[in-house]
């Protein structure tokens, strides 16, 4: 521990030296330190150097290095100078979701009202971290949603499902946008909240969720559908549209005919490769001892193997919905 504090004391001294020498590049390098305290000290020092440092930091945001971006964004959120706000707003459309998340947080920390409109747009981001960051930042900017629909997007960003549900029909557009979220937990929450609202307007989107790729989302959609007044007779067809990962019997049969054994490997049987190797050996040996007759001798076996692979694929039970 003593050594560690000595080290960080050493680093603080370095930062003071770099600041005195107005060594902006050196300070930016120090931002990459593993130590949180050193990072913050370096950011503060850069802030104290005024517009000259700010220009370099903004320049660095145009370099293509994700890690570096995140470091600079963090420093900017600690410096809280409004100069980089337009650049940061542009970065709310960055390809990397961690960068977008960082920028959303930084814009809230800086507290410039120019960021309000772009952050409202980020409430519709497909990444839940970005939505959450944007909602928290809007809160910090003192933004009040003008309509219930906007409020729903805001609360969905905050993941306050109960408050979303209390908004009733106005929450349906916001909940619909997150029904395609990558994380099934978010989709389940959205479906459950839609069920709690119990509105007929939610029927089309709930029907889509009945065919979700995740089985727990599908089940939540069944329970929610009932509350929304979908006729139960329509539910099974919705469920039957789910993506089915069935193996193709023609592929299994064809593979087993051309490369005997690999049809079984395609069906995820570990011994498929073994049969394939046995076949190669048998073919080579037969070729050696019998000459060219071998393939004709093996052909009936190949046909049998092909038919067997085809048959067991057709007979494979469907995975439970």
């Amino acid at each position: 521990m003593v050594e560690l504090s000595n080290q960080s004391g050493q680093k603080t001294a370095d930062i003071e030296k770099l600041t005195a020498a107005k060594d902006i590049a050196g300070l930016i390098k120090t931002l990459h330190s593993d130590d949180m305290h050193t990072q913050s000290e370096a950011a503060k020092a850069l802030g104290s150097l005024g517009p000259a440092a700010m220009d370099v930091l903004i320049q660095d945001l145009t370099k293509k290095d994700k890690e570096h971006h995140l470091v600079i964004i963090k420093a900017l959120s600690e410096i809280r100078d409004p100069t980089p706000v337009p650049v940061l707003i542009g970065m709310l459309k960055d390809q990397n979701s961690e960068v977008r998340w960082g920028v959303a947080i930084a814009l809230g920390e800086i507290g410039d009202s120019r960021a309000t409109e772009p952050l409202i747009a980020s409430l519709r981001d497909y990444d839940k971290y970005v939505r959450y960051g944007a909602a928290v930042s809007l809160q910090m900017l003192g933004w009040k949603p003008p309509t219930d629909e906007e409020k729903a997007f805001f609360l969905v960003g905050l993941q306050d499902w109960q408050a979303v549900g209390a908004l009733g029909d106005s929450a349906i557009p916001a909940l619909t946008t997150i029904l395609h979220d990558r994380h099934s937990m978010v989709r389940i929450k959205a479906v459950e909240t839609l069920g709690g609202i119990g509105s007929t307007r939610a029927i089309p989107v709930l029907m889509q969720s009945l065919a979700d790729e995740d089985s727990d989302v599908r089940w939540a959609a069944v329970l929610a559908s009932e509350k929304s007044g979908i006729h139960p007779m329509h539910l099974p067809r919705g469920l039957s549209l789910r993506p089915k990962k069935k193996k193709n019997p023609l592929i299994a049969g064809f593979l087993n005919f051309i490369l005997p054994g690999l049809g079984y490997a395609y069906l995820a049987k570990w011994w498929g490769v073994m049969i394939y190797e046995i076949d190669i050996f048998a073919t080579v040996w037969l070729l050696q001892y019998w000459g060219t007759f071998s393939y004709e001798a093996l052909l009936p076996i190949y046909i049998l193997l092909a038919a067997h692979a085809y048959y067991i694929t057709v007979k494979m039970p469907e995975t439970a919905p």
């Binding site: 099974p236 067809r237 469920l239 039957s240 570990w270 190669i280 439970a320």
Partner: protein, 311 residues
């Protein structure tokens, strides 16, 4: 041809063909149209209940449910009891509830014990639709389990024990874990035996749920580790891996789940074939045997160690 036009022309066969249309909403409208045709469509709709594709079966049953003819009750019961598709059994249960014929009650009660949660749920809802109420606590327990009303099951107490144990057969692990939890809260001698048995469940979460419930069940904690150790394992066999690597070097590793197993197999086979071309099959085999034996021994110890780690 347009669905509306076919409906007006009473083209029942045409509409049935559209039940398997590429677009789901066309299937839907075709099923609705068939349902609105009434009694005349009933007989032709009973035929596709067997042999046809899932979409067609679902659509036909939807229409039969809307028509509500007593003639369709027996065929629908047969579908509910025997169809392979979960969705088809589910829609058959809903349709039977819609039609409301009392003959459907015993089969729907049997379907409360179906392995699939959608079928159980649909059957329970159908029974509710028909105004059925449970006569015994056992029926009430199966019904509450089907609609996943866990509180109601808990309230039934000891009389829910045997339905709960019966439903441990379902494939859905989350449901089995939930059942074990409730059995633990109910307690009693039968629950104790089940708690013990559940410690051998193939699913990790279910076993854990069993451990947590075992105190309430009355299983002494000192017995838990032994019971848990007796679970059936789907772990690869040590002997199998050894044997595979002796005959097909590399395949044993593949069987143990090592991605590089197949790489070794390919290298080995290549060497085998080259050596066979150079010195002949017999000498190759003689040369390979000690070499393979070394690998087999190594595989044996490796598989044993991994088995011990997997616990």
């Amino acid at each position: 041809m347009d669905i509306e036009a076919m409906k007006n022309a009473q083209d029942i066969q045409g509409l049935i063909r559209h039940l398997d249309h590429g677009k789901p909403d066309v299937q839907w409208r075709a099923a609705d149209a068939l349902g609105s045709l009434g009694e005349i469509a009933c007989e032709p709709l009973l035929r596709p209940l067997v042999y046809h594709r899932v979409n067609v079966r679902i659509g036909a049953i939807e229409a039969l449910g809307a028509i509500g003819s007593p003639r369709s009750v027996e065929p629908l019961i047969k579908t509910l009891m025997t169809d392979q598709s979960h969705e088809v059994r589910w829609v058959a249960a809903v349709a039977l509830g819609e039609i409301g014929d009392k003959r459907a009650i015993p089969p729907l009660l049997a379907s409360l014990k179906d392995d699939n949660r959608y079928v159980r749920y649909g059957s329970a809802r159908a029974l509710g639709e028909m105004g059925w109420t449970p006569e015994t606590d056992e029926e009430r327990a199966y019904y509450s389990l089907a609609v996943q009303d866990w509180e109601a099951v808990k309230k039934l107490g000891a009389s829910a024990t045997s339905p709960l144990i019966d439903m441990l057969k379902v494939q859905h692990p989350a449901m089995r874990a939930r059942i074990v939890e409730i059995l633990g809260s109910i307690g009693g001698a039968v629950a104790e035996r089940t708690c013990e048995r559940i410690l051998r469940d193939p699913d990790e979460n279910v076993r854990w749920s069993g451990v947590l419930s075992s105190r309430n069940c009355g299983v002494p904690p000192s017995r838990l580790p032994l019971e848990l150790a007796q679970r059936s394992r789907t772990r690869p066999s040590v002997f199998g891996a050894t044997l595979l690597n002796f005959f097909f070097l590399g395949l044993g590793y593949d069987y143990l789940g090592k991605w590089w197993g197949l790489v070794i197999l390919e290298i080995y086979l290549l060497l085998f074939l080259i050596s066979q071309l150079l010195v002949g099959l017999f000498r190759t085999v003689i040369m390979m045997i000690p070499f393979m034996a070394v690998f087999a021994v190594q595989t044996y110890f490796m598989a044993k160690k991994e088995a011990a780690l997997a616990g």
